[in-house]
């Protein structure tokens, strides 16, 4: 395992609630988009922020350090953000049962699709040239919306899931859908087949490796699993005695060229596992902005209900990652110096 970035380099403040969604911009990944429960999406240039940056007092019009722009159209909490590959558009979903398609420059929504019957947990770009948006909702359906056409109806609805759809990942022409019913369904458009992998526990987060042969699955049994997509076998399970994820939707991600598994937790910790060996290499306390050394040191330190790490995101260009917490702060972690 190469050197892991363990030093906090920036603190993105100004959120008015739990940060549910976190996304690096595409390409050089110089910006961070955050989706907050205060119904606002914020665009940060985290190089302008410091670790000691303080949010402006409530009510003031001043922007928090590093804050570039605010996107407000949601009427409910924002639950997921996905940025297009050309960095010009992004999609956000949330509690208002709609999928919002944004223009980054004008901070306006270009399209809004409504058709889900419940809150939309996840919306991602897909298709060649980001021509569709795939959204998964609490109503158990996955709907695929066409960006290129002006159709207000989805191209297709996948309603095989028996419970709330929590996460969607797209690799090539395959759509992976994870659901609370404990299954990960992988729709292969080329073959016209849907392979169902039973995880056994409600799945909260799903990501695909760069090769596309593995899928990282977080489930509510405090375990993150790396599944072989080819045959559905378990490649590795990532656990730790202090890692708790039984209640909340906590994101996990692969990082550092698919060598590290990173996951938030219910109790405000961030865990980093070595992908191959499966042992927990680093633990971070999000609210303290520090790495926790030693076993058991993190247990019992949970401060209040809001001390969760709901989303983590790895920078695709640098040795850098970010964690979003229930305290309304996003910490960007990088290498020393």
């Amino acid at each position: 395992m190469p050197a892991f970035p363990t030093t906090p380099i920036a603190k993105l403040t100004g959120h008015g609630g739990i940060v549910h969604a976190l996304a690096y911009s595409s390409g050089s990944a110089s910006y961070i988009l955050t989706g907050c429960s205060d119904r606002t999406i914020r665009l940060y240039n985290h190089t302008k922020a410091t670790t000691t940056s303080v949010a402006p007092p409530a009510g003031s019009q001043a922007y928090a350090p590093g804050l570039v722009s605010k996107y407000s159209a949601h009427g409910y909490e924002v639950l997921s953000i996905d940025v297009s590959t050309d960095n010009e558009k992004f999609v956000s979903t949330g509690g208002d049962k709609s999928v919002f398609y944004w223009d980054v420059q004008t901070a306006q929504t270009i399209r809004r699709w409504s058709g889900h019957n419940a809150r939309v947990n996840r919306g991602v770009f897909g298709g060649e040239g980001d021509s569709v948006i795939v959204s998964g909702s609490f109503d158990g359906t996955v709907k695929i919306w066409d960006i290129k056409q002006n159709n207000y109806k989805p191209i297709m609805t996948l309603d095989e899931a028996r419970d709330s759809v929590t996460d969607i990942a797209i690799f090539d022409a395959e759509i992976l859908v994870s659901s609370v019913d404990g299954r990960v369904r992988s729709y292969d458009l080329r073959m016209g087949m849907c392979s169902v992998d039973v995880i056994g526990y409600p799945v909260t987060s799903l990501s695909v490796s760069k090769k596309g042969t593995e899928a990282l699955v977080s489930s509510l049994d405090s375990t993150v699993r790396l599944m072989d997509r080819g045959n559905g076998q378990l490649l590795k399970a990532y656990r730790d005695e202090s890692f708790v994820n039984t209640d909340l939707r906590v994101r996990s991600t692969l990082g550092l060229n698919d060598s590290v598994v990173l996951s938030g937790s219910d109790d405000g910790m961030v865990f980093a596992w070595d992908l191959l060996e499966g042992e927990c290499k680093h633990k971070f306390r999000h609210s303290d902005m520090r790495e926790v050394k030693g076993k058991g040191a993190a247990t019992g330190e949970r401060k209040g209900k809001k001390d969760v790490v709901s989303a983590v995101a790895f920078c695709g260009a640098r040795r850098e990652w970010a964690s979003a917490g229930g305290d309304g702060n996003v910490i960007v972690w990088g290498m020393d110096g």
């Binding site: 298709g127 039973v198 559905g232 909340l248």
Partner: protein
């Protein structure tokens, strides 16, 4: 106002061709005041006084530019108004003082416009004829001036031929001159040729078209009113006007006005007139001085003619048809004839009574109609008197006789009783209830057809849905398996998988059966599976009575929480045996557009590739068969993806997990080794406590 000075020839042309000028006479000396008539622009012109000086007015009253180019005080310019002290000479007292009129500020154009806008019109008070106004009194000899006649072409032609007004038409008659109203025909004077007298021409009896509204009583009312009110009648009557009304109207030119009804001006005062006849009787020239020709002496002012102005009361004119009249050709009427003046009488077609047949007359043509009339009989009479009954008539007509049965032979007894009670006739024959005779019984097909009419309508998809719901879960009529079977049969029929008539329960009449079918249709409507949001909100109840008939075995009322049958794949997953056991595949049909967006060739055997419209993919295909191929695939997929739950009846299957909100609910920890629900016979104390919280008997 200053006008442009008249310009002589253009100086340029004069300068151009000096040699060709031919000069005649002597040149005028140059103008003393320098006005040689050449063109000088207005701004160069100066106004000088008689001494040739430019006029300088006061520096504050204009200087060199007082008025229009310093024309103030010049002979064609303005004269300044002298100040008049109102103390010595009050301005308002000066009657002759030139007051400013609008015309003073008008140029020619304005004046022309103003004069154009002025029209000479008769005032309202001018109502010369027949009116009670002072102007139109009969003594006023001028009233005739206001009456003109436009002459028709016919009048003009006869004028050309020598006819004069107030002459009769025809050959000239040789007679003595009658000067004094025709009474004193002086015999001594010689005879002359005279034009025949103007005799009223008889108008052809024209059918009067009465264009009046329903119930309109104008004439009667008007005549009554006219008779009672002497003032409203014409105080001046012209005999010729009254006597030759028709001729007048026929001679009159076509009326210019087409107004409807009678105005003041064109009211001739006669009540016999149809007031709604189009056009006035007299047209007035409303403009003065626009006469085309010298005004002819009108007939109204011809003093010394027989048809002069005579005041004749209306009654007299009406009765006075017996006045000595001449016929049209100036001859006295023949003896025994009277001249009929009322031409209206001609219009009445006389009705003559039919000729009286002399008594005792008998026609020579002897017809046999009398006898025929004698033995005529109405059909009913004939039928009444006929002794033939239906059978006899049938035999007469050559019909093959029906088996001699009455309707009562065929209807059942109850029906006959019903007939008796309804008709009150107790003397009806007994109902035997026999079957129809040979060759006449209703065919099986027709009975089936009539039975088919009892089968209620039900949409195919509703039936299929209800059937599918019955297959997966709850179905009505759980207490009566036979009825349920019939219900299922009905649904199968309606969804198209069966063709035969729904079976009838034993001992069930057709009406009961039809009623039951109606009930089934309702039940299918009610119990069809919920769709859309509703379906996502509800989970079908887990179990009905476990089995019909085993309900009274003394089980405790609390239903046993049935053991949750673990999906083997989930069991395997929980044991960590990921791999083939936890993996399953099912076909999946991406829409063509989706494949296009992903730049992927659509998989083969994709039914959706045939579809073109992407919107339709959201709509579930309507199936023709009870379970179409696509639905079959769907079911297969469901089975594969959701586990075997849908295969079994609901009371046997495990209940799908309640929707667990991702981030809020607690994960239910299921102990694999022990199942409390199974091991316990009785419900736990907590359940009782939860339900009967206050009761102390359990503790």
């Amino acid at each position: 106002m200053v006008y442009k000075r008249p310009r002589a020839a253009s100086p340029s042309t004069a300068q151009k061709r000096p040699r060709q000028d031919i000069r005649l006479g002597t040149e005028l000396p140059p103008d003393e005041d320098g006005d040689d008539g050449s063109f000088v622009p207005v701004w160069k012109q100066t106004v000088t006084d008689d001494r040739g000086r430019r006029r300088l007015h006061g520096a504050f009253t204009g200087g060199f530019s007082a008025g229009y180019f310093n024309t103030v005080g010049s002979k064609e310019g303005w004269a300044p108004k002298a100040f008049v002290s109102s103390r010595s000479n009050r301005n308002k007292d000066q009657a002759s003082a030139a007051t400013q009129r609008p015309e003073d500020f008008m140029d020619e154009e304005d004046l022309a416009q103003a004069s154009e806008s002025r029209h000479l019109e008769t005032a309202q008070s001018v109502a010369p004829i027949g009116s009670s106004g002072g102007v139109g009194r009969p003594t006023d000899g001028f009233f005739g001036l206001f009456v003109t006649e436009e002459e028709t072409m016919g009048v003009k032609v006869v004028h050309q031929m020598g006819w004069r007004r107030d002459q009769g038409v025809g050959r000239k008659v040789r007679r003595h001159a009658s000067l004094n109203d025709g009474i004193a025909a002086s015999k001594d004077t010689s005879e002359h040729f005279f034009a025949p007298k103007d005799a009223p021409s008889m108008s052809s009896a024209r059918e009067e078209i009465r264009r009046k509204g329903l119930g309109y009583l104008s004439e009667a009312r008007l005549s009554k009113a006219g008779n009672t009110d002497p003032d409203s009648g014409p105080s001046l009557a012209f005999t010729f006007l009254n006597s030759s009304k028709k001729s007048q109207t026929s001679k009159k030119p076509t009326p210019k006005k087409s107004s409807f009804g009678v105005g003041v001006l064109n009211d001739t005062g006669s009540d016999d007139e149809d007031p709604y006849e189009l056009g006035p009787k007299i047209t007035f020239n409303k403009t003065l001085g626009k006469e085309k020709k010298a005004k002819k002496p009108s007939k109204f002012v011809k003093p010394a003619v027989a048809d002069g102005l005579v005041y004749v009361p209306r009654k007299a004119t009406k009765a006075g048809t017996s006045l000595s009249r001449m016929s049209q050709d100036e001859k006295a009427t023949l003896k025994g004839f009277t001249l009929e003046m009322n031409t209206n009488d001609l219009m009445i077609k006389p009705k003559f009574p039919p000729p009286l047949i002399p008594e005792g007359w008998k026609t020579s043509r002897n017809t046999s109609s009398e006898e025929r009339v004698q033995d005529f009989q109405s059909v009913t009479d004939a039928a009444r008197s006929s002794t033939l009954d239906a059978k006899a008539r049938a035999s007469l007509l050559g019909e093959t006789p029906l088996p001699s049965r009455s309707i009562f032979d065929f209807i059942p007894k109850e029906a006959r009783d019903r007939l008796v009670t309804m008709s009150g006739n107790t003397a009806l024959p007994q109902g035997l209830g026999q079957s129809a005779p040979e060759g006449y019984e209703a065919s099986e097909q027709s009975t089936a057809k009539s039975l088919w009419s009892f089968v209620p309508r039900l949409d195919k998809h509703v039936a299929a849905g209800a059937l599918a719901k019955g297959a997966t879960g709850w179905m009505p009529y759980g207490e009566d398996s036979n009825k349920r079977a019939r219900y299922v049969g009905f649904l199968e029929l309606k969804s198209g998988s069966r063709q035969e008539l729904p079976e009838r329960g034993p001992g069930m009449s057709v009406s009961e059966w039809a009623k039951e079918l109606e009930e089934f249709a309702h039940a299918a409507q009610v119990f069809k599976p919920a769709s859309g949001i509703m379906a996502s909100r509800f989970i079908s109840s887990k179990a009905t009575q476990s089995t019909a008939g085993v309900d009274s075995t003394g089980e405790d009322i609390l239903r046993q929480p049935t053991a949750k049958v673990e999906d083997p794949t989930e069991q395997a997953a929980k044991l960590g045996m990921y791999g083939p056991m936890t993996r399953s595949s099912l076909p999946f049909h991406p829409s063509r557009l989706l494949c296009k967006r992903f730049n992927v060739k659509p998989p083969p055997d994709n039914p959706n590739t045939a579809d073109i419209h992407p919107v339709d993919f959201d709509i579930k295909p309507k199936t023709e068969e009870p379970i179409s191929k696509s639905d079959m695939d769907r079911l297969m997929r469901e089975v594969a993806s959701r586990g075997p739950a849908t295969q079994r009846p609901a009371w046997m299957s495990y209940e799908p997990e309640a929707p667990v909100p991702a981030a809020v609910t607690k994960h239910a920890i299921v102990d694999i080794e022990t199942n409390e629900a199974l091991s316990k016979e009785r419900a736990s104390e907590d359940v009782f406590k939860a339900i009967f919280g206050d009761d102390d008997d359990e503790e």
